[in-house]
Amino acid sequence: MQTINITLNGKVTAVAPEITILEAARQQGIDLPTLCHHPDQRVKANCRICVVEIEGVKNLVPSCSTRVTAGMNITTNSPRVRETVRTILELIFADHPQECLTCIRNGNCELRQIAAKFGVRDIQGEKRKHSFSQDFSTPSLVRNPDKCIKCGRCAEACHYIQNVGILYSHNRSTEISISPEYGKQLADVACVLCGQCALVCPVGAIHERDDTDRVWEALADPQKHVVVQVAPAVRVSLAEEFGFPSGEIATGKLVSALRSLGFDRVFDTDFSADLTIMEEGHELLDRIANGGVLPMITSCSPGWIKYMEHYYPELIPHLSTCKSPQQMFGALAKTYYAQTSGLEAKDIIVVSVMPCTAKKFEAERPEMNASGSQDVDIVLTTRELGRMLQHEGIDFRMLPEAEFDSPLGISTGAAAIFGATGGVMEAALRTVYEVVTGRTLTDLNFTAVRGMVGVKEASVDLAGTEVKAGIAHGLANAKRILEMIKAGQADYTFIEVMCCPGGCIGGGGQPYGTTNEIRARRIEALYQVDENMPLRKSHENPAVQELYQDFLLDPLGELSHRLLHTQYCNRS
């Protein structure tokens, strides 16, 4: 590899040409502070706290946006640099509510961490009194504009990663604010509630609605039978909340942790993921056989569904009518499980742990009451569960491995990979292939649908019929596929869309600090979970088989239709 020599803090160092000073410094073990910088986003260079000194250059320059050149002499630790960085931090703090102790980001606020590192001890500036009102308009997200430091990371995620673009900066000077149009609330604009903004926010300006108190209350109520379901993506990310490396598989500890919180039953969304494959797979086969609308598009991701309802209502007939695994679980917990366990539905509280903020919205959709009342009562994100466990004082490292309760805790490897982009497709193909051809799949791994590429394709021969599959994750990529469908250029039969980059493992409710690199590690872990499972095909799940035998009877049958399928609305 060709390299160039630069001098970094007095030491001559060979680095790759064309990298930024920030990258060069980090490669040399010097972690310059950043706020507006995010490895998966474009360079913005507006917070200015990564400034460094270059010999011969009049002003300090931001290291995130300045590329190295041969012979460049860079100093990152001169008194001049330190004073400037501290001053800028001080200026940000003077415009920031001094509510660190009661802030939801207390403990993982990037601004606070950097300020501590740089020894900001005193704020000479006049503290600003803010008057913005908080936005509690949605079940998913809370916006607190007072805490916004205008780094622009949320708007960047909203525009360029999701291509939704409802968050952007308005006005100028000190009046600048980042919000939906005309300062509207999130509920009044076409926000899909994916929470990618919250995931990248360095401070507490936008975050999930905290529902932990509602769960504490339910757990404390002796009249209630509280069951919990956990999404596949949570088992490979929760451990990060306790300092474990990303991609740590913590299924067993997760089950123990939930038990020690006092849940009456610890179930697994993977069970209903297997069920989703049964319903969705048969729906696909039915559409192929009977001339239904194709390509059929998956419907597991609630942010994605809301996006379709807002932006592409004319394509709604392409969506599978299947509910998401979360909602299938809720409907069954309050019917099938209630019946088999001799409980009354009104006494059961269904709690979900999801990697997703849009799931809170999904659970509160008025049509999600197949059981007679709201099917899923409370949705927690991975971060909220992390906080509950911290609150309870549970030492995650010491937890023993435990197993999910049956029957709604029994699952297959196919269900586990639902958490990764391409996973639903791969799981569906495993089942559809065997159902259609009657043959046993020799190689279960559809590697073409895996990985972080934005739009992926695969094709399977189903007894002479070629089924072409398309996979998109992140709404910007999904939009590309939708435009192809509208233009009649999508020759896919089946399309999987996940709202968030990387799929649910990169969801808006996942631990802070999520980057594409971390997403890749979580994905790897999910495929490992799959590999380790004795059963890897949804239709081989014995609990699902039993469910059909004793209760639902047939996929796409009458009861299935009532409990497990739904319809969508036009929100445009």
Binding site: A45, V51, E83, I88, L91, D95
Partner: protein
């Protein structure tokens, strides 16, 4: 001493007189364009290079070098933009050119476009200049009718489509990348450089952006040669500079001044000195983003190198004189408030630094500040200057920095804990 300019000058300044196309042509107008088209872009560019013309918008970048960068670009579609977003308080030179000698400007734009190989262009005029917009609009139409603009100019085969663009009114749109964003229909906020506009400017195409005054210099250089041009000014800073002179002087107005004159000369000979009976307390040079200097520095010549050495920014060429009845602090705050209003708000040091600096000045002027506030103000000023995103943010700290350097006593005297020395002695 440099000669005072008489009839022989680059800008035909006679207030109240609008030079129409016929007048322009009678005075040798458009002969430069014909000459440039005949001798080709390289020869013309050589003339500009030899003349040593530098940008008159504030950054003083060598004009010929900028045009060369465009010529080096392989992209066929190139733009020229005339930056007429003059918004610096106390600066009114570009408006004069646009309203009084519009064809000299149009001719300069056309020659520059020819040298740069640009076929499309914009004049970005702020909407606060409706008169300039009207005159330019009519002048562009007339130049097109007479074959000086548009398709196949003067039968040369060179074409330039020139349009007027009205900015919505933001000081920051004078910054070239913010200006480009504004024409593209986006927010007028600066972009990261590189790429520079010469590489990827308007709609990602190579773009030449020059100030009104810079472009209006070009026809005279082509017409009368680089050596004629160099008969004005100094070897380091050839030519003349339009000076917007205002404040506490006898004669306020716009003057064409050869480089090399000292600021004292300009103020005395053109401005007739300070108002009767008053002494000069400070002079602001370079507009709102310029510096505030004490009278003893007025012997610095108007010259890029000399000014750079003493920390004076020539900027747009505005000179504002303050006599001894003026408060430095309120003068600085005036300018600070202008920048606070005009900051785009994108970067922290400019947005928050200016806000805090303004609050400290509020306290100082109210007699509520303490000495500590002055050093905090100095520190904030350094951050604004050192770390702002764009040149305008960086320059916003200039009058703060210079006033804190030269008039620190006045700042300290306003502090509540500033006790006269005899009291200190008593307590000691």
């Amino acid at each position: 001493m440099n000669k005072m300019l008489d009839d022989d000058q680059i800008f035909n300044i006679s207030p109240g007189r609008h030079v129409d196309l016929d007048h322009h042509c009678q005075n040798g107008g458009y002969s430069a364009l014909a000459k440039a088209l005949a001798q080709g872009p390289e020869t013309s560019l050589k003339e500009i290079l030899d003349a040593g013309l530098r940008g008159r918008g504030g950054a003083a970048f060598p004009t010929a070098e900028k045009i060369k960068m465009l010529r080096a670009n392989t992209e066929k579609l190139r733009y020229i933009i005339c930056n007429a977003d003059e918004g610096e308080p106390g600066t009114f030179k570009d408006r004069f050119i646009m309203t009084h000698i519009p064809f000299q400007l149009l001719e300069g734009i056309t020659i520059a476009a020819f040298m740069a190989g640009a076929s499309e262009g914009y004049i970005y005029v702020r909407h606060e200049y409706p008169e300039a917009q009207k005159i330019l609009h009519e002048s562009i139409e007339e130049a097109e009718r007479r074959g000086f603009l548009g398709d196949n100019i003067l039968g040369s085969g060179f074409s330039l489509s020139l349009k007027l663009f009205s900015g919505a009114g933001s000081y920051l749109c004078g910054e070239e990348t913010a200006l480009i964003s504004s024409i593209e229909g986006k927010k007028g906020r600066p972009r990261l450089k590189p790429p520079y506009p010469t590489q990827a400017g308007l709609w990602q195409k190579p773009t030449l952006i020059n100030n009104v005054e810079t472009l209006a210099n070009i026809p005279k250089i082509i017409e009368k040669s680089a050596s004629w041009y160099r008969s004005f000014g100094t070897p380091d800073s050839p030519g003349t500079k339009l000076i917007s002179l205002s404040g506490d002087v006898q004669n306020r107005g716009l003057f064409e001044v050869p480089f090399g004159m000292t600021f004292a000369q300009i103020i005395n000979e053109y401005g007739g000195g300070a108002k009767t009976g008053k002494a000069i307390k400070a002079v602001n040079i370079g507009g709102a983003s310029g510096v505030l200097i004490p009278p003893e520095m007025l012997f610095t010549p108007l010259e890029y190198l000399a000014c750079a050495k003493t920390g004076i920014t020539i900027g747009s060429g505005a000179i504002f004189v303050l006599d001894d009845t003026r408060s430095i602090l309120s003068n600085v705050q005036n300018r600070l408030r202008f920048f606070l209003h005009e900051s785009c708000g994108k970067c922290t040091p400019c947005r928050e630094g200016l806000r805090q600096a303004n609050l400290i000045l509020d306290r100082l002027l109210a007699g509520e500040a303490v000495r500590q506030d002055v050093s905090t103000l100095e520190r904030y000023t350094r951050a604004i200057q050192e770390a702002s995103f764009c040149g305008l943010g960086q320059a916003a700290g200039n009058s703060l920095r210079s006033s804190l350097a030269y008039y620190r006593d006045e700042y300290l005297a306003s502090c509540r804990d500033n006790k006269p020395s005899f009291i200190e002695e008593e307590t000691a």
